[in-house]
Each structure stands twice: as structure tokens, then as C-alpha cells.
Point group: D2
Chain length 431, copies 4
């Protein structure tokens, strides 16, 4: 109890380019930031391979996590008049905000797909397991770690707290849109967060937005839409992700084939078996992965060596648009031709798909289900956003998907002339 | 010759948060950016350990190098009317700008001190050695690599080109001040670069500034001053540098003592002997170093393990002001006391000094000698900046130095009570 | 011819908060800026009564006109490789850009409605009439004024030039969205103009946008949409416009009734008769109007005096939403009640409607007809924007209208209690 | 008492480009903003004639006054933990901040000089006289107007309140530096106000700055220095001020000579006699002045007509540097020559001097005396800023003065050739 309410002698601040300053008064928050599990987030990039396309995007999840915390802190400050919360509720919100991304691995998106993992599960394990974070949370009170994990996992009984942390207009999204826009330097991603915070209201078990703030919310939704297509799904970054997947796939295969590595993938062993120890997970960050990739450039296996060389030195695959329905025949033919000219299509030909739902009012069963946005009209009535906004209505629930086919153009160009080469170039639209 | 003038089919641009866009039209520049030696700069942070203090400062030297190139490109665009240059001179400038930091190693400042290296020497080696960069430069013409190296080394005969790349108001400094301010988020570091570029003039073998731009230059000098003391010399970042030095020092000592490492420092071998092969140098970037540091947390040597744990997980030494003249006696006494309580002062007690000369008109023999800034008065006459500006005059040539003593406060606190502990705490001003 | 090509000895620049600098090299442009007709634009606010709501919006049409010129200048600079223009075509574009708003009167929107004028007609008159502007244009060549007027009037034969000046994504709109956002301080109005300029291409008689720039254009369209509803149609600014209209209407009526003014509206005489001399038009700017309004506060006519007091000292009418179809009966009843309590409904009750079409691909016959936006796909084919963009399609051609009823709440509150007062308050939803 | 504490039902906000939002909760503040005397500030430009040079600088004193209020509001919010103030003290601060510039007249600087007035005196008169502002303040309590006037006049007994409103780092200066930089678009004028507010502390009867904030304060002092020389004292704006003075001087002279005006300067009568009625002062704003200037362009007196034409249409005098000591002989000779060629030197030749003291620790008896800045060192001790900061020390107390001689170059050029003309041109350095 004493620890739960303990305040620092003097407020600490972090200079933050996005929110100007991040303010910390609670001893618990300060201590959590100092844990090795939280410091580890400095070695995980917020945007994975995006830095390959937007060189500014080298910022880490540490940055973002502080930002989400700060937004929640400001929201709670605005809510003080309206919310009769005890200090545990407040701390629960702040803590969940700070720790919500704790379980992210290196290049999460890709890594989770190849090894069939879920970072949310690891967030939970870090909070509940034998970690510095857990020690601190337990000191607050023995139930506290469980509560924090439940809020992040959206299963906590107090839905108001859950919706502060996870909704279609939560602190997580508001931070990353602005932060990623800032670091990439794109002109999208800006919206009037100060105004949105001013028109947010807690109402029973939800966060609602005063209807006078609708346009600011529209602007936020549009920012989100633009960031997805201009930044997050950029085809060049996806090319780097394709390489990454192929490397991990190759390493796994070689390991299963008892290939003799010069540099054994010891850090990956437990991922190959699927029985991942928490400590192994925590240890594997992006600097470790880069170490392996750089070392493997010198492996004898030419596929592994080539893929690693490409990833480390940005010799990416090229891409072409791919129409998933019409072009399956071409893809089949390309695979045959690749084999004939001695290029392994399992590693050198890949269709990557990106898909986004800019806003949805109802998505039960979706993996990334988030709560809809409600406007509170002047008469007090609630309206779901897409009912009130024509613009949002127009994009609401419309999934847009983009398919690209990735291939090693440089290698194809270097092939000796042959009919197959001509066919490959024609099918890929190469000049 | 053909290659020297080759233009891309379509201009390529990089989105840059500082300069909005970086524009590339020359095939040579495009090819240089694609080399492995240039891509390596993505794995070297521009500000070394500063990210420990300013979490936003995670940007790499790759970022900065593109920025310096872009500034020079704009300057040359402004100069087209005034400068009768051939295409080689132009390309020489652009190339030297792009490659000027190529030889930086991981956490350069610290690394160079411990192993007694000079990154400028490695820049030269990369340009002249057996590298992808050298192949491209040689394709321009066989003398070209040598010329580029000379420009960067400030020994090239055409002093106008040299002064574009290295002076007290060169593209290097203009980029890093703005870029580091942007990523850290501090409010210093801003000045009107557009105006400075507009008032720059080539004059014989110098770059001069039209006197009407004096205030913009004053603002730049002040920015520089503030960035040094607020960001670059921040005592917390220096604490991380102290740890880094101590780790490298310990590894070297253990290696010399034939200590049996669990993870041998193979990447460092040639640094221990001082006979550094270029390829070894290129391979050692910050991801590799972090791999070792993380692995060494599990070494048996308790000093190495502790120092690495501290660096990786940000358990830094604390600091206190240290008056180099008056306090030497105290330092001696502290070392004795440290030994008595079982803390090795060679690794756990360090005086770090930072020192800056905000502007100087004449610094012959200085390691980082840069050319003074000349204003061109309306009558055509040249005046050295500090003669014309009272503000600059007031800080010109005044070296300011700051000494701090670093120590492990956490460890001292955990010592059992003793007279020595009390004395240590008293001498360090610990509560 | 000599004058047409005359360049200033040294480029002049204007420091501009939106475009950083406005650059002038042509003597003709410099001379035009110096004319009294162009300087007059300093006394016409860009956003009329908007400053009443957004106190920052005090900027003038002078600002905006320089901005439009600067954008066109940059576009032409980008086009140099693609466009084989002679110097007259270039100057025609720049001049038309600079002068396009020359005929705006004080609080144009309102003023034109009350006196049934058209500022475009006055722009033409100023360009062709006996003015300093005309003298300069005639010096270029005798046909030049006519050509400039035709470009602004969209009747010029070279449609490429016309479309640079007037289309749905022209320099005019790009400047005012950004400028008005800057001065009001709202977070809308930002889009990546640098990118849009980079992807603009002249193609036959049109300006087209490379399809890779579609998202930047979407962002621009959204900015426009938000600015209209958040800033331009703000109900409080419209309240000030209602007052303004009522003042002008009252003055006209009093004048027709041969009312004896203490301060005769001499500057307005020719507007009352409808036979407006160009010189009278030029003389009537916002400082002159404010002089009259302030003086008329002391007129005996209580309506004129009250309306002027309200406008000068910001004692505005309140407003309520008004459903044009359902509420006409209420409006009729309110008018009756107003008369019964002694308030003249002709001056104290007004329905104001705002209406916007965010983007339209085809609006023949519209007063403000502008050309649609074409994207150039990778295969060279043109696509009208709303065909390619779902978001734009969703708002394309959808007119949105907002009706508000304005009334003097303060005066109604001060009425002695009566049944009529109660009825008025009920109908207006007053508390 | 009830009124003193009355809060609005819902907080009102003004969108402000500099501080993002200005927040108002107090009924008193809201009512004061609505008064005609405060609304009048919309018709007085913050920077007088500066808009002639920097076209963006069209913002009014209304803007700035809201900004100063907002800064004080934030400071008081920060102080809540440290300051045991009653509600009157708080309101006194806010009110004084809001109203501190209430007495400014049109183009104050110039106007006050010509008519020998002092705006601070009029601020006091408006607060204490028969005005809407006074009614509101009296409603707070009958002594309140007097207290507000005393705070603004720096004679109030509570020096802490005085120093919040007037010191070398007060809210007034912090607002105008940032605001004027924003509207002009210059890159100076930025400093980290958020940080300065964070390190401000009330201490007895002063505001002190924690020493850790010294660099932010240095930055502020430098901003101030740059803004003075780059913006406030810009020689082109001063040229417009010279015209303005000459117009007022001419009108006064004509009036004294019983010249028959077409448009009598009725608004100026009481200024000519020096017995200025408050109501006359309040009525004279910049729109009224511009009305007269525009009307007087048609006066028969050729000097008045010409000066007004010049001011209205920006046909300014040119300037040359003037060395006050060495050139007095030249000035005398020029005056003679002017008379000989028929140009009245009283109206067409003027030396204007600007002079600034960037920071001073002690200026007793200065007209614009402001309190020095104190740093609070870690040991609690106070240090005056220039003792702690080398940079500030270097410019502290150093008055810098600039003299320019203004003359009508256009008119001189049009003179028929003569020896006198040649002499004039030579003396003025005209080409």
C-alpha cells in the first residue's frame, strides 16, 4: 500500500520529441522503467524493417511504451474531476499502458509468423513470471501482476480500464501514429490529440467522445488509414520482411537437417522445438539476431549466406503487383522455371499480402478486435462513429488488400541467356 | 567519364525528417549508398550512448551521412551561377560529403580511446582498400578514390572543396546539430539553415558568408554551444561511456591474462594486438558489440559480468562534480577506501572530462582543427566572425571543461556498515 | 520584351511563415507587388470575420497572394525540364497567380451578396483599367493585361496555364489551406505539398498527378474538407457575417429613406446605386468600413447603432440549428412574436446556410467550377481521382449543407416577462 | 466574493497557434475578454509597422494579451503546491496579465513619441475610469480595480505578484517573443518555455529559476537579442515609422496653422491640445488612423498628401547607415541642399535610432526597468543570471545602438540634374 502510493522526491521527466515531456511521479512506474525487461525494449525497433525504407524509423519500442504511458497519464489527469478512482485503479491503468508491449520480440510481425508465437502471450509471461517486472508489481500487491496482465489481455472485469488501453482510439494507437510519423518524417499521422483528450469522457464502462470532437476523430481515422498504406505496408519494407522470413525458415530447415553450422543458432534452439523458455525469449533481441545474420554471411550454405548478405546489406528482392486470383497459374509456372534455371523458389519467390481495415464498428472474433468509437451527442445519446460521420462510414468495414510478388531481380539478370530466362523476365514484367 | 556523369532515369528521393527530402540523381551516389560499407552505418548510432539519456536519439550515422550529402547538394545548386566547376569537382564534393563518416566504429568516441584508433584513418582505408565503395569510386576514374580521401582528410589541393566539407560552419555540423536536436526532441539546435545557405558564397579558396547573414550564423554558433552542453556532454550519457570503456578495458586485460571466456571475443582479437585488418574493423558494429555484452553477462569474471549487466540494463554509475585540482587528494583516498571494502577502483571509479571550444578563429595544431568563418562585408572586405559579432567574440576561444567522478552508488549502499563506508559516502557526498 | 525578361540585380525574398521564403527575381513581379492596388490587399483580411472565432486569423489577402505566386514559381521550376515555354508564358502564369485575388473587397463574401457584386469582375477591371497594375502589365506588352485577365477568368486559350491557376488542386487552394491552418492554429490543413509538387506533370492541356502521389492528394482533399467545416463555416464567424449583412442592409435602407446620417456613408454611395466606379471600389477596404461602423455606433437610428456596436465589440447573435424544411412554420411564428415584443425581425432574425462540395469530378454550370484532378497511372493512362480513390469517391459530389438561425439572445433575455417572451424562448430552445 | 470565484459551466477555450489552447474557467476573465475596451485591442497591431517588412506580422495585441494570460495561468497551475494563495491573489495575477496592454494606442511606439503620451497611464485610466472593464473589476470588489492597476504599474505591495507580471523573464516577454516569431516566420524566438515554466519557483517576493534550467534561460535571452535586431529594429519597418511620425507632425502643424482640411482630424483634436479625454483615446485605433491617412491622400497640402500616399501604399524612404558623431556635418549640409532643391528637410530627412539592452541585472531609473533573473543553485543560494552564465555575462549591460538616416530616394532621382543633386547623391551614397 505504501509502495502503491509512493511518490518520487522530485518528478522525473524524459524529453520526448512527440509529447515534449514524459512525466513520472510514481515510484512504481520509475522502478518498472528501470527493469531489464523494460530496458530490453530499447533493442526492439518499433517498426521492424521499416527503417530500410524510411531511414528515420530507427526508434525502439521503449520510446513508444513511454509515450503510451504519458498519454494515459494525461487522460487520467483530465478525468480527475469525473472519475472517483482509488489509487490502485489509477496505477493499474498507468502500468498496463507502460507494459502493454513488453512481450514483443525482434521483428515481431515476421518472427511470430515463422515460429507461430504470440507476443501478447509473452507479455503475460513476463508480467507473471520470474522477472524484475514481476517483483515490482508483486510489491504493489500480490494480485497486482495478474490484474495488469488481464487489463492488457482485455479480460479484466473493469471494462472502462480495458477500453482506455485497447480501443479503436486508444493511447497505443494515438502514440504510434504520431511517433511513427515523426520519426519517418512523413506528413501523415498528425491529428489534434490535445483536442481528442479534451473531448474524451468516461461513461459507465466506456470511453466516449463528445460529439463536438467528431472532426478531430475523423482526422485521426484518416491519419491511421494513410499511415497504414504509406508507411506500415510499404512494399520495400515488406521485401526486407520476406528476406527475414526466408532466413529463419532456412535456418530451421538446416538445423532439422543437422547441417553443421560454423556459428550454431544456439539462441534459436528452443524456438525450433517450440518449447520456449521465457529466459530464452527475453534474451533474443534485434542486436542478437543481427549478430547471427552477419555471422552467417560466411556460412557454407549458399542460400543462408546469400539471404543474410542481402538482409544485412540491403540487397533486396524486387516486387511486382500480383493478382491473387488471376495469377496463380503464372506463379506455378514461375516456380517451375526457377527450378530449371537453378534458383530455389522456396526461398526466392514469395507472395506477400497486406490488408487493413481502417475502422470497424463491430468485429467479433477478429484477432485484433478493438472496441468501436462512440460519440456522445449534445442530448447525451451515444452514436457509433460511422453513423455520425460520412467519411468514416465510407471506409468503415472495408478491408483493402494488396498482394506483391517478390523475386531476386539481380540474380535473374545475371543468368546466362536462355529461353527460360526470357520467360521468367516476361512473366515478372522485367525490362 | 560516362559513369561520372551518369544520371538515374528518374530522381530518387529519401524521406528525411530533417531536410524533408534527400534527392539523388547521380548514378554514382546511388551506387555508393547501396554498398555494404555504407549500409553498415545503419548499425552505428550517430550519438553513441546518448540514447541512454535522450531516448529519442536512436538514429544512425546512415541518417546523418545522407543529410550531409543533401546539404552539400543544395549548396552546389545555389552555387551554379557562381562556380565554373567541371562535373568531377561537383561529384568529388558530393561523394566526400556522403562518405566523410564511413570509418566510424561502434560507439566511436569511447572505442577509439580505448584501442587508440582514429576513425578518419579507417575512412581512408575503406575508400582506398578492397571494398565495394572503392570499386565504385575507381569506376569514376582510377584517381578518384585518392581524391575523395584527400578531401575528407583536408589535404586536397583545392581548398574550396575542403572548406565546403570541413569548416566551423560546414554541412557536417549543420546537419548534426539539426538532426540530433530533432531526434532528441530538445528545443536547441534550430537555426535558419535556409538563410545560411542563401548567404554562402564561394570566394577564391574559401566559403564566405554575406554579412547580412551574420545573425543567422550567431544563432548557429549558439545552437552549437547549447547542444554541446545540453546533449553531447550530458553526464548520464557519459556514465554509460565510462561503463563501456571499463568493459573494453576489462576484456583486454582478461584476454591478456589468458582468461578462459565462455564466449571468446573473437571479433576483438585484432584490436587487442593493434594490427587491425580492415575487414575486422568493418565487421565490428554496435549490434555485434551488444551481442558480446549480453553474452558476457553470464561470464564467470564478476567484474566483466557486472559491467556488462550494467551497460545492457542501464544500471549506471552515479556521478558527482569533481574539481580536478582541489580533489586529487580525495580521489587518492577514495581509491584506497574502495580497495579496503573490496571494490576494484580501476573499474569502479573514474573521472571523466568534457571540454568544448564553441568557436575559435585560429586553432593551429588542434586535433579537430576547422577553418574560421569569414563574413563578407558590403564593401567586399572579409571579416573573421568574432571580429564582427560581439556575442561570438564573447565565447570565442574560451574552452570550458567539466569534470565528473563516476562511482557505483548502488553497490556502495549495499556494503555492510563500516567506518570506510561512511568515509566513502562522505567523500562522494552520498546521502 | 526587355522589361518582360528583366531580372533584379539580386533576388529579393519575403520571409513567409508558410513557405519559408517567397523568392522574386523578375522585375515585373517586383513592380506589381509595389503597386497601390496590390498593397491594398493588406487591408483586406483573408478570412473576413473568421478572426472573431479564431483570433489568429488576422492575416490579409496580401499574404495569400504572395503565397500563391510562390507555389506557382516552384511548380514552374519543377517543370523546366518538361515544358518548352517562352518567357511570356512563364510570366503570364506568375502574374496571374499573384493577381488572382486583386479584386476582392472588404469582407468579400458578405459584401458581394448584399450589393450583388462579383470580385472576379473587379479583378478584371483593375487589370484592364486605369491603374498602376495596368501600367506595369502594359509595359510588358500591350496585350499582356488582357491575357492575364483571361487566365484569371479561365477563358484563356492555353488551358494548361488556366489549369495551373484554377483547378481542384491549384496553387490558390494549396496556399490558403495551409496558410489559414497556420494562422488559426488548427491542426487540419496540413498535407505534403512538397510531394504533390513533385508528382505534378504538365500533360497536353492539363496538369496531372503521378498515381504514386495519390495518397498525398487524398490527404489534401481531406484537409480541405476539414478546413471547410471546422474553420470556414464556423457558426460564430457566420454570426459576425450576419451582423455585417444587416448593417449594410440597414445603411442602404436608411439612405433610400433619406435618413440624415451624422456620418454620411459617402464611400458607399456608388454601391447603393449599383453604378460603381473602379476608384470607389478600390478605396473601400476593411479599415474604411471599420471607421464607418465605429462612427455609426453614435448614430440616432437605434438599429444601425446597435448592429454596429455589436459588430465592433463582438456582441454577437446566438444561433440554433435550423431544419430548413421542418422549421419554416416556427420561423414564421418567431417573426410574428418578434414584432409583438418590439424587435424588428428583418434585422434580428436570420437563417444562414453554408454548403460545401468537398470534391467533384464534374460540375458544369457551377458558379465556382473547377477542373477535376487526374491521376496518371504507371501505364500512362489517366484516371479521374474519385475513380482511383475510395475515400475521395465516398465524399465526391456529396453536397453537405448546414442551416443556422441567428438571434439576439441578450436582448430577448432582457425583455420583460410575457407570454410572447416565453414562446420565443421555447421556440429558440433558450434556457 | 461570489463573483470573484464564479466558474463557467464549462471551460472555454481559444485555439491559439502559439500555446495551442488558451483556457478560461473564471467568469471574471471571460467577462473581461468580452468588454469593448479589450475587444478594441483587435484593432491595434502587436508589432505596429513591422507588417510592412514581415508580411505575416499582422497579429493584434488581442492575441498577445490572451497569450500572456495563458502563460500566467500555467505558471499558477504549476505553483499550486508551493503557493498558499487566496482566490483574490490568483485572480489579481490573471487579470493583470490579461489587461497589462489595455492602454496601447495605434502604432503606440510612434504615436506616444509624437504626442508625448504613455500607454501605461492609459491602461490605468481604462482600469479605473468609466469603462466596461472597470464595472467588471468593481464587481469583484470595490478595491480590485486599484489593485490591478497597481500590479501593472509595479507599485503593488506584493512584489511576488509584480514580478510574475514584470521581470526580465516574465509572461509578457515569453509570449511576445514566441508569438512574434511565429507570425513573422523567422527562426529566432524559439526557446523551451515548457522547461522554463517547470523550473520557475516562487521564493519570498521573487520568482527564481532552478539552476538546472540555466541553459533554457540563456536560450531565451539569445532569442530576445536576435528578435530585437532581426525583427523589432528592422530598418524597413522603422522607415514606415518615420513616415508615420512625419504625418502626425504635419497634421498637427497644419491644424495649428488653421489649414482648412477636406477631412478634418476630429479624432485627433484632443491630442493636439494635450487634454485627452479617455473616450477619445479609446476611440482612436489603427482602422481609424488608416481611414484618415487614406482620405488625406486627396488633401491639397502636398506634403501631407505625399506622406500619406507613401504610408498607405508602401512607397517608403530609403536609408543609409549614419554615424551619429562623425556625420552631423553631413546632415547639416544635406538639410541645406534639400532646401535648395525644394524638398522640406523637416519632413523628408530623419535620423532614427534604435537601441537595446539585451539583459541587465541592474537598471535603476530606466524607463523600462525590469527585475533581474535569479538562479537558485542546488544549495539553495541565489545567483544573478549573468554571474552564472558566461554568455549572458558577455552581453549583459551592453547597450547597442543603430542609427539610420532616412530619405526619399525616388524623389531625389526624379530631380532635374544639378550640382546640388549630385552632392545630395554623393552624401547619401546613392548610385
Amino acid at each position: 500500500m505504501a509502495y502503491q502510493n509512493a511518490q518520487l522526491d522530485e518528478e522525473k521527466v524524459f524529453k520526448d520529441p512527440v509529447h515534449s515531456y514524459v512525466h513520472v511521479r510514481d515510484q512504481v512506474i520509475w522502478d518498472l522503467i528501470g527493469t531489464r525487461e523494460f530496458q530490453r525494449l530499447r533493442r526492439i525497433k518499433q517498426l521492424g524493417t521499416t527503417f530500410i525504407t524510411f531511414h528515420g524509423a530507427e526508434h525502439s519500442r521503449f520510446n513508444h511504451s513511454l509515450g503510451v504511458y504519458e498519454i494515459i497519464r494525461r487522460i487520467l489527469e483530465n478525468f480527475t474531476d469525473r472519475l472517483q478512482w482509488n489509487s490502485e485503479q489509477r496505477l493499474l491503468c498507468l502500468t498496463a499502458a507502460l507494459l502493454h508491449d513488453l512481450g514483443h520480440g525482434p521483428y515481431s510481425h515476421c518472427f511470430e509468423k515463422v515460429f507461430d508465437l504470440d507476443h501478447e502471450n509473452f507479455t503475460k509471461q513476463i508480467i507473471l513470471g520470474d522477472t524484475e517486472v514481476n517483483q515490482i508489481l508483486t510489491k504493489v500487491n500480490p494480485d497486482f501482476p495478474k490484474k495488469v496482465a488481464e487489463v492488457i489481455n482485455k479480460t479484466y472485469h473493469d471494462k472502462l480500464i480495458v477500453s482506455l488501453i485497447s480501443s479503436q482510439i486508444d493511447a497505443d494507437r494515438m502514440d504510434y501514429l504520431q511517433r511513427d510519423a515523426y520519426y519517418t518524417g512523413v506528413s501523415y499521422g498528425h491529428f489534434d490529440m490535445a483536442r481528442i483528450l479534451r473531448v474524451m469522457r468516461p461513461l459507465d464502462d466506456k470511453i466516449v467522445i463528445k460529439s463536438s470532437g467528431m472532426h478531430a476523430v475523423e482526422d485521426y481515422i484518416m491519419s491511421r488509414y494513410q499511415m497504414y498504406w504509406q508507411v506500415y505496408f510499404h512494399p520495400v519494407s515488406r521485401s526486407a520482411e520476406v528476406l527475414l522470413s526466408k532466413i529463419l525458415q532456412r535456418v530451421k530447415e538446416l538445423h532439422n537437417d543437422t547441417y553443421q553450422f560454423q556459428k550454431e543458432p544456439t539462441h534459436f534452439y528452443s524456438f525450433f522445438t517450440g518449447e520456449i523458455k521465457l529466459e530464452d525469449y527475453i534474451k533474443l533481441d534485434e542486436t542478437i539476431m543481427m549478430y547471427y545474420f552477419q555471422t552467417w554471411v560466411d556460412e557454407k550454405d549458399s542460400i543462408l549466406s546469400d539471404l543474410c548478405y542481402r538482409f544485412v546489406n540491403r540487397k533486396l528482392f524486387k516486387y511486382t503487383n500480383f493478382h491473387i486470383k488471376e495469377s496463380m497459374g503464372d506463379l506455378f509456372q514461375l516456380k517451375q522455371l526457377f527450378k530449371q534455371v537453378g534458383i530455389n523458389p522456396d526461398y526466392y519467390l514469395e507472395v506477400d499480402s497486406s490488408s487493413d481495415l481502417p475502422y470497424d464498428f463491430y468485429r467479433p472474433g477478429e484477432e485484433e478486435e478493438r472496441l468501436p468509437i462512440y460519440l456522445q451527442m449534445e442530448n447525451g445519446e451515444l452514436k457509433e462513429l460511422s453513423e455520425a460521420s460520412e467519411i468514416v462510414e465510407s471506409i468503415s468495414g472495408k478491408r483493402r488488400t494488396d498482394h506483391k510478388l517478390y523475386y531476386p531481380a539481380d540474380r535473374i539478370k545475371k543468368l546466362p541467356d536462355s529461353q527460360e530466362k526470357q520467360q521468367i523476365k516476361a512473366l515478372l514484367g522485367m525490362k
